[in-house]
Symmetry: C2
Subunit: 324 residues, 2 copies
């Protein structure tokens, strides 16, 4: 399977694994732009089959009627899989890949937090087509979107994707994918490593998702509280230090820009906060636990992150017990 240009990409079959708000949003753009795209959905498959998927986006409104499957067996092999699954469901990926990964399939993960590339890679068969080159591409989406119901997704801000080859090499396939996304008006950038992408994303995610859960604070509440705003900036400084130790430079300017862009979000709730409020398991380990463990390994003190992680772990646990 040769992937060097957008034309090559036009011939492929795409699979969205975990077509929630994020997967559904990008999947709908693939559909809308004529890419053959299959959605793997669970509880919402029936509704989407029947009514399609409506997107109310900052980029306009559209509706798509994709191929929808509720089992990986029925979905079958795809050429490019885009994983938007909540990390708490990562355990289901092994079974999913058994049916959807062929000899040449590439897997792009846009999931939250740390540890997904490694985990996914460990479950995939060797890439016989391109030996020595990982099948996995690690990415992040910087987006404000959420599901209104089974067939409606709201998107209010952001939407850009950053991704990287695991070995950091800018090969033709990743350049072509970036071009494809840009052609669909999805801002997209290639970075030097998944860690580079992820630490930059976590600069927003750890403080705002973390305080969202622990302090029941939407983005406006964090910004309006002098103490929480200062805390958010201090957490960013902790991440800057870990990232630095991990070889990645996150500038103060980038951190300060996070506040500017968050101002424009209004009363936005992170997915972690929404999950908690809906008494669903929140992605505590991927977003907070893994970064804290990496900080420890790198010998960086992160007292604020550690407090948030400890509190979130306990709150999440009590919340799930409560829901049962």
């Amino acid at each position: 399977m040769k992937i060097e240009t957008v034309d090559d990409l036009r011939k492929l079959r795409y699979g969205i694994i975990g077509a929630g708000a994020l997967g559904g949003f990008y999947g709908s753009l693939l559909c809308k732009n004529g890419y053959r795209t299959a959605f793997l959905m669970r509880s919402t498959a029936k509704d989407v089959k029947e009514h399609g998927l409506k997107i109310n986006s900052a980029w306009g409104k559209w509706e798509v009627h994709p191929e929808v499957f509720d089992s990986p067996q029925d979905m079958g092999v795809c050429d490019i899989l885009i994983v938007g699954l909540k990390t708490i469901s990562n355990v289901s990926l092994k079974e999913i890949f058994k049916h959807t990964v062929g000899p040449q399939t590439i897997v792009i993960t846009l999931q939250n937090g740390f540890g997904n590339e490694e985990y996914i890679e460990s479950m995939l068969p060797d890439n016989s087509a391109t030996p020595g080159i990982s099948r996995v591409i690690g990415g992040c989406s910087f987006i404000c979107c959420w599901r209104e119901n089974s067939t409606v997704i709201n998107h209010t801000a952001g939407g850009n994707i950053e991704f990287a080859e695991l070995d950091g090499v800018e090969r033709p396939r990743i350049k072509a994918i970036c071009q494809m996304l840009n052609d669909m008006k999805i801002p997209c950038a290639i970075k030097s490593s998944p860690a580079d992408v992820r630490w930059h994303k976590l600069v927003w995610n750890i403080p705002f998702s973390g305080l969202g859960l622990v302090a029941k604070a939407d983005t406006a509440a964090v910004l309006n509280s002098p103490e929480l705003r200062a805390t958010a900036r201090r957490i960013m400084a902790e991440i800057q230090m870990i990232a630095k130790q991990d070889g990645i430079d996150i500038t103060d300017k980038f951190c300060e820009w996070q506040f500017e862009r968050t101002e424009s979000m209004g009363h936005y709730k992170s997915s972690m906060q929404i999950d908690y409020e809906c008494k669903r398991e929140a992605e505590v380990e991927a977003i907070l636990g893994e970064p804290v463990r990496r900080a420890r390994k790198l010998g960086v003190a992160v007292p604020l992150m550690e407090m948030i992680y400890g509190a979130a772990k306990l709150l999440n646990c009590l919340n799930i017990q409560d829901a049962k």
Copy 2:
């Protein structure tokens, strides 16, 4: 009014302002030991008048039938007032003092957090009997107790009191009061200043009450979580730094002893955590806000306390809105 010995104190009339768990516990000990003691209670006055007050204590069980009043007018002037009121009700003190404070009345506050001595002093008339000497004595009670219902108080651990004259002078009156309490088997110590007493108390209160509210963590949950346990110790280190800047030495040994004594409490919930769970206003400003403001004044960075204060303020506010 001469107060130099326990015999002098035997002749006086005592008033318990805010006879909740703490006020009720110490008030019952005064009663039991033959001191003339009036309780000012609000919603529970009727029940206590009728059935008395039962104490299930680590020091034994007893029952008392004190003078109970539901209005400060009826209660009238007392010689020594012991304030156990929640700090959130401090605003009611002005009206209470109007009727209960006579020309020579002394006020001992055992309330939580910072700022009470100054607030109380500001509302009292000048002390004409002993000009230049404050009517107020600042104290703290280190105790695990809570109200089971309107007429039953449980006490499982602690109970010692530390207090100090506002100017730090160990005059006969404070020595006599300390002796009186010791005679009742209440461990009691005189310290060099209310700030000395309070910072030492807050070493426990800020981490355990704060995390109790923010992480829904009882004492056992804090101790069992590596992250929250480390956080508690780090918060203590912040308090050590503020106290040091305030001229008070809190030793590492004292901090570490907090963990030992907390181990023995089991699944204890701080009053702040109980208030939050019962959807009552929690003492966020006295226990967390004032210490943070003092840290700022003293130029000490307290990022963990600031995060907890910011989160607790918001959670408390949402909680009260919720209860309405």
